[in-house]
Symmetry: C2
Subunit: 315 residues, 2 copies
DNA sequence: ACGGCAAATAACCGATCGCTTAGGCGTGCC
DNA sequence: GGCACGCCTAAGCGATCGGTTATTTGCCGT
């Protein structure tokens, strides 16, 4: 199974004709036919069969098409990605839960880039808790900032405490909350739907049903809505400090809160760290980074954060 | 650039050593080293360089890793997908906007499967409007049900009207709506964030800012919240018929509504259609299908609607 | 300076890829 | 029936892949 075989197959499936695919590829028609034959033999499935005017896909063929199409386009992407990276800045990929990305990843990235004199380019991505550890261990991310990830010893990761904070529940000072917490309207950011997140843990502990959740595009929007009296919004206390000080929000007394949290920095073990990762890990221990973690950006998060995740339909 | 080269690279990057990768693959160390050399030459980038203890990735290498890891695992997935499809049921992939998937795709799929005596297996997927046309034209989906997609003639798709309906704005009968529509709280389902959707078009026409949107996990949850007086919720009129009849919701008079819509069925041209697609297209014209489109499921959609969109990080 | 270790290179070989030209065969159409 | 069209197979050929053993290079610690 080679990439040329797969791309021949994809092209035939799309164009519905071996001949058309051949001319599109600029090769003779038997070349394509044979690529197809090799694939058929290798996978032991006809994939495409002659039927009436064009070619019909077998069940196996249609399943293959979705996957092969991705592989082919990834192949092209790989080439251009590497070629365009020639001599480019080293990149450091940071993964974190959405709230951290929203509030502190930006300033942190800026400060770190400045510190490295621009030679390291930081990109921050959102990830579910369950995926963070494996992303780092598979070297698809360099540093994870968020919950403790050292539990799975087999991954061989180093997860060190960095910063302590508290998860609280916030609402407008004049909010009238009727009934018990499970009945309140809960205004959350998308990360709350990650079952491994602290917010999700809190909601489960309280027995808040899913139907009581309103998911906002980000934490800021959820707090905004809570400030207008739309309900309660869980959040990291110190990130809401401006809203608390301006009395737009206040802390609601809820069982299980404040929940004491500790953010960890997770990296590969020292000898397997990239220079960028080692440098970032060191930076996270400095007072400068600590200060950035403590003060929530300018309070104005990027309105639309797009995580660098590949989305595929029907995988 | 071959798949074996890529998997050798991925393994070396992950394990941090050529030797380890070789033993993991069960081949000699020069075999891996040479695969790496070929890749380096082909891509004209060192990818991995020796550096104390292990191997350090170049910028190009780290970019390649994310892509190559996917390609490798897709390759394995392709094999197993095709092999396990041997003699399996033919599958028909239907794409539609989230609302349609939520309310009518299920019953439609069931009825169609029953009609085909189980020989065709329907899976429904959510897609953004902009993607629906390419999914069908690329044969990654068989039928699209939703907006008219025939505008781009170059894709060579057939988009035929199937069903007429109306988009209206709903709220609780006792709702007190203050100010103009842009000030109201708008309770929407995720599809409303697709700029090509009808709901999004309506919101733009009214000038509703993003900050006024609360995104609920599905249309049912949004209507539920609207019924409790949380705001207004746009939606397809006939899908809310039960709630309207029970007076949980009522239609709000908003400029630009009711918006007359027409759902279309989009397929490849007749001669390029799979049997399953042709069969589904025919089914969509029958009174049976019409009835299913007209009546929203059993009125009780699945409480947790999970759109079958796979987000793949490396797999 | 000198071992020791791991990666790179060299030289070699069989298998397969990817392409060609030439010809056989099934299907649909007149 | 015959014909045209398009797919498949056959045969052949050069390039490269993927693997081996043997050797060289480069880095590190003592």
């Amino acid at each position: 199974m080679t990439l040329t075989q797969l791309s021949a197959f994809v092209l035939v499936a799309r164009l519905g004709s071996v001949k058309a695919a051949a001319s599109a590829l600029g090769v003779s028609e038997p070349a394509v036919s044979q690529a197809l034959a090799s694939l058929r033999k290798y996978l032991d499935d006809p994939l495409l069969t002659r039927s009436g005017g064009g070619m019909a896909m077998t069940p196996g063929g249609s399943r293959l098409l979705t996957i092969a199409a991705q592989m082919v386009s990834l192949g092209a992407e790989a080439e251009s990605a590497v070629r365009s990276a020639q001599g480019a800045a080293e990149q450091l990929r940071l993964v974190a839960p959405s709230t951290i990305v929203e509030f502190v990843a930006g300033p942190l990235a800026d400060a770190f880039t400045a510190r490295s004199a621009g030679s390291i380019e930081v990109s921050a991505g959102v990830s579910a808790t369950a995926e963070m550890a494996v992303l780092v261990s598979q070297r698809l991310a360099d540093v994870a900032l968020g919950p403790y990830l050292g539990a799975d010893r087999s991954l061989g990761l180093v997860s060190e405490p960095i910063f302590r904070c508290r998860l609280v529940v916030l609402a407008a000072p004049d909010a009238r909350l009727r009934g018990a917490p499970p009945q309140w309207p809960w205004l959350v950011e998308p990360g709350a739907t990650d079952p491994g997140s602290d917010v999700s843990r809190l909601l489960r502990a309280l027995g808040v049903p899913e139907s009581r959740l309103s998911v906002f595009p980000n934490q800021t929007a959820a707090w905004e809505a809570a400030g207008r009296g739309g309900g309660v919004a869980p959040g990291i206390a110190h990130l809401a400090v401006h809203r608390l000080r301006r009395r737009e929000l206040q802390v609601v007394d809820v069982p299980g809160t404040p929940m004491e949290l500790c953010w960890h920095a997770t990296t590969p073990p020292v000898d397997r760290r990239s220079v960028a990762a080692a440098s970032m890990r060191h930076f996270l221990g400095t007072p400068e980074a600590m200060k950035l973690l403590r003060s929530p950006g300018a309070g104005v998060p990027p309105s639309r954060f797009r995580p660098p995740v590949y989305v595929t339909i029907w995988s």
